[in-house]
Point group: C2
């Protein structure tokens, strides 16, 4: 009695992507992106989506969230949305639901993406070890990473992380001043205080105040675009600091996870920086690891260009058998007694 | 035709520990530690050991080395010793040999150590998730870490790393000055430039020059001991910087690997700091991760007190079946044609 599609969702800090799938893939034309700020809760967003898709009941659901995944409920790190499995089951009608960290979902997507969804951006074209560890990392609303290894049955195992909260690695007096600016009223500056959409704005503000330039009302994407087109020196200065820090953090995480099978970059901020990541600016800093530089030079760097890549990972995770579930993504079975009404919307 | 014992070895930058084992464990009284500087090569060291133990031929050998493990040969990162599998087979007589990174071996040792080999030093006494990821990290001649996960058959999978080469995470003007001191003539300061035996000496030299104190001819262990006994202010200042950086790096790596099953500290420098690691100095910095502080507070922190712990890990790795070998530790079968003479000693 398996009725209804599988709901796959990637719930970021700013946008949510939703899709409907069967065992063979995501159904064409069902993947859509929504701005979280247009909805009061995830439940109202997914309810509207399912009505629009004319779906009364999903079979299962896999929700990738920009937050640590624990037990039966999650609260988004960068938005005050709370999602619990019972309510999510109620609104979707699913009898089984799974939470994943959003980068865990991207980890499951590695190796399942087609040529049009991934682009080579730096380093060697192919990995020396095709079955070696692979890793995805990147900056969007926040920053994170996930390593993907293959088990004895060649099934993917994805290792969730909270890399965005690691210490921002600064190396120069200027970078320390930026770090102090980012740490103001927060006690510390984590990686994602710089490597995120909000981070780009704050780096820009700091560069302006540091150089005595009046800040303009640019968005994150505009700052990066102005820099790429070399139309604004302050934006260029901002993007240089951003890409240098991104490359340093990426290099550090390569040393931690040894993704000899390849490094995959993801996230809206990272994608906006594509041409800068393909430049020496990124590569020189990425490989500047002293005696381990050759290790870094051996890692091919790809960019996940498809904004919906995590949905593929959700489906892959949902189709896996019990013994291959990774540690953090616990399956939850819904109680039949919970109805939409009980879920409070 | 399985004759002879299994040779297990932990080849560090300063010392090498050797032992002889059977399927049931390391034979009593066979574990010994040797100073590398007393020998011209690993081959001469192990040759002397086997003669002393009256062993003509080993069955298999597992060598844990303080270096990245690649293919059939390794060169120690912090000593100019080169070890290749053919020569190691020749000198030991083993028909099968395995290289592991030394922290990979410590990863395999997690969960196999008895009460007398591990001591609780900080955080909750037990982990909330007994089957969750566990991690070992620490400072000795160098610094490194390794995460250990359980596969679908509850067999350990150890993930090798090169964390000692990550960027040293500094946060204050004083720490940046120390970083510049450590980076002099090297271009950069990695984690192990501070968190290592040599690192302690260099932090001490920097504190002396920074405070205008004439440096004394202390060893690493003496500096830490003077600090613990509060007998020398400069040593106390040095140890504080050391433990704060160790705690920050440990906290960062917890965010990267999420070892909800427990964090195990290892290494001679780390062990010497035991009482400081049990103090607020370590815990306050370890848990200072903003919105993720509660995650850090949930991780029990243990110290591997047994200097020979890696040997247990070598034996565990050697006893595993083929399908459970981790990616980096490739087995190598010896060619019969290679003799001791051909190995060049």
């Amino acid at each position: 009695m398996t009725t209804g599609p599988i709901l796959v969702a990637d719930i970021g800090g700013t946008n949510t992507r939703l899709g409907l799938a069967g065992a063979n893939g995501i159904h064409k034309g069902t993947s859509h992106r929504y701005r979280n700020s247009d909805y009061t809760s995830f439940y109202s967003l997914v309810g509207a989506y399912l009505r629009q898709q004319k779906v009364e009941k999903c079979h299962k659901a896999c929700l990738a969230v920009a937050a640590p995944v624990e037990d039966d409920a999650i609260t988004l790190t960068n938005r005050d949305w709370h999602i619990d499995k019972s309510s999510a089951c109620a609104v979707t009608g699913a009898t089984e639901i799974r939470f994943l960290n959003d980068f865990e979902a991207l980890g499951f997507a590695i190796g399942r993406l087609s040529g049009g969804q991934v682009s080579h951006v730096a380093g060697p074209k192919t990995a020396t070890s095709q079955n070696g560890t692979r890793m995805v990392l990147g900056a969007g609303t926040g920053f994170n990473a996930a390593a993907m290894t293959l088990d004895a049955d060649a099934q993917p195992v994805v290792h969730a992380a909270e890399c965005g909260h690691m210490t921002l690695p600064v190396e120069t007096p200027n970078e320390l001043l930026l770090r102090d600016h980012l740490a103001r009223n927060r006690g510390r500056a984590s990686v994602e205080r710089a490597l995120s959409g909000q981070g780009v704005l704050e780096i820009y503000q700091w560069v302006c105040s540091h150089t005595g330039v009046a800040p303009q009302n640019f968005t994150t994407q505009e700052i990066i675009q102005q820099a790429i087109e070399q139309r604004d020196e302050t934006c260029e200065h901002t993007a240089k600091m951003l890409v240098r820090l991104l490359a340093r953090v990426a290099g550090d995480l390569v040393l931690a996870f040894l993704p000899v099978g390849g490094l995959y970059l993801s996230g809206g901020v990272t994608r906006a920086c594509k041409s800068l990541i393909s430049s020496d600016l990124f590569w020189d800093e990425f490989t500047a690891k002293g005696r381990q530089s050759n290790l870094l030079r051996s890692v091919p760097v790809y960019l996940m260009t498809d904004d919906h890549a995590a949905l593929e990972g959700c489906l892959a995770a949902m189709m896996m058998t019990g013994s291959h579930l990774s540690s953090s993504g616990l399956r939850g079975h819904c109680q039949n007694s919970i109805t939409s009404k009980a879920a409070g919307f």
